[in-house]
């Protein structure tokens, strides 16, 4: 337990001191206000066209837990979280960014994984190998991917 935890923390520290692409907010620097994140993580608007790919398995894998009626080609849509239909009406851009970056800031104890976070994990593994993680920790989604998926979610209106 402690070895994994230590690596996770060390990795997080490393990540924080790493040079970030210009204008990109590092995972540990993201500011949440009532679960929402006001500023773009890349400093630029996202591209909604990349949304469906990120929602698919192999990437954000949102589809494991959520249904999206607008994406009928994605097979096996999960039922753990609410369908994402109409989220663009229910939530603001800042709120959606906060939910995707770290849903636990919006929903206490949420089962939804934090997609833009690099610290505080227990027994962090190396992807899905089951082995301990070593070195720098990367968030599940990049800042750009978070912005792209948020831009896509905003198009999901009832």
């Amino acid at each position: 337990m402690s070895a994994g935890l230590w690596l996770a923390l060390a990795g997080g520290l490393l990540g924080a001191t790493m040079a970030q692409a210009e204008g990109v907010v590092a995972p540990s620097d993201v500011v949440f206000e009532d679960g929402a994140v006001a500023v773009s993580l890349t400093g630029a608007p996202g591209n909604p066209e990349n949304g469906p790919d990120i929602i698919n398995k192999g990437s954000g894998n949102c589809i494991a837990c959520h249904q999206v009626s607008a994406l009928p080609d994605l097979a096996f849509q999960g039922e753990i979280g609410p369908p994402l239909d109409g989220v663009g009406d229910r939530w603001s851009e800042a709120q959606l960014r906060g939910i995707v970056a770290n849903a636990k800031m919006m929903f206490d104890e949420s089962m939804m994984p934090a997609f833009y976070k690099t610290e505080g994990f227990i027994r962090l593994g190396d992807e899905f190998t089951g082995k301990a993680h070593a070195g720098e920790v990367t968030p599940i989604l990049t800042a750009e991917q978070v912005e792209d998926v948020v831009a896509y979610l905003l198009t999901l209106k009832d």
């Binding site: 494991a64 096996f76 934090a114 227990i122 962090l124 089951g130």
Partner: protein
């Protein structure tokens, strides 16, 4: 969860509602949750969540692909191995008599060892200290077959592992692990198997993660699989560093998870997709 789980598989008209093996062993696949478990009122065997086709395979030993391995273990039971010139049968006699009811109470506290032992560890203890034979690999083919043979002698009996007395601290360690949110996805066993059983996570119909059916034969990998191998897969899927089969953590987790199924029938070896 209960309603959705029944509904999800009910497309086939003659689906089996009750699990009766070989037309004679009536299995309890749904019963009142044990008193220590606050999370739900009713516990369900993993059998309940599988498709009618998969469920059918478990109803007759001629259809159950696991039985080939059980037959192999029956041969091993009678085979002398090790420096002492003994087989399991030398001390335990006929497996049907010697091992009746054993599976139902394992993992179990062992006074001499001063710790909780899984069935696998007990078998290896007999091999090493009583037969003078090499231990089998914890989740290797020979061991999982022997575990299945021993389990068959308890089929239909209620799981009844002890969680108090000297086993209590191990049980509590297992409980802690069950509720720990591991890995980059920060998911605990409870996130999936307690809070969301009966729903779909991608293509999988989530069960309560009971182990009364273990070892299970999986159609996917065409072999018998131990509970510890399943735990390992589930922990790995949270993007965590897993524990190993036979580790103290998984022994504790096995005791705890088994206790969540106290009251369900021993079903092993069962069949999964």
């Amino acid at each position: 969860g209960a309603l959705s789980l029944i509904a999800a598989g009910s497309v086939v008209a003659d689906e089996p509602a009750k699990l009766v093996v070989n037309g004679e062993i009536e299995m309890v696949t749904e019963t009142e949750a044990p008193a220590h478990l606050d999370a739900f009122d009713t516990i369900y065997s993993g059998w309940t969540f599988r498709t009618p086709e998969t469920r059918m395979l478990q109803m007759d030993d001629f259809d159950n692909p696991a039985m080939v391995f059980v037959d192999q273990a029956a041969e091993a039971w009678d085979t002398v191995d090790g420096s002492e010139g003994k087989s399991c049968a030398s001390c335990h006699g006929d497996v049907a008599e010697g091992m009746a009811g054993v599976r139902a109470v394992y993992p179990k506290w062992n006074e001499a060892a001063g710790k909780v032992r899984t069935l696998v560890q007990q078998v290896n203890d007999c091999r090493e200290t009583r037969m003078g034979a090499e231990p089998w690999k914890y989740d290797g083919g020979k061991m999982v077959a022997m575990e299945s043979l021993i389990s068959v002698q308890s089929r239909g009996m209620p799981v009844n592992v002890a969680i108090d007395g000297p086993a209590q601290s191990t049980w509590e360690q297992g409980k802690d692990l069950y509720y720990t949110r591991f890995g980059q996805l920060e998911l605990s066993c409870a996130n999936c198997h307690e809070n969301n059983y009966g729903t779909m996570i991608r293509a999988d119909h989530l069960s309560q993660g009971q182990i009364n059916g273990f070892p299970v034969y999986r159609l996917k990998n065409t072999k018998l699989n131990t509970a510890h191998a399943r735990f390992k897969g589930c922990v790995r899927d949270t993007r965590a560093e897993t524990f190993n089969p036979g580790s103290p953590e998984f022994v504790a987790l096995e005791l705890y998870v088994a206790s969540r199924g106290n009251g369900l029938s021993v079903e092993a070896p069962s069949v999964r997709n």
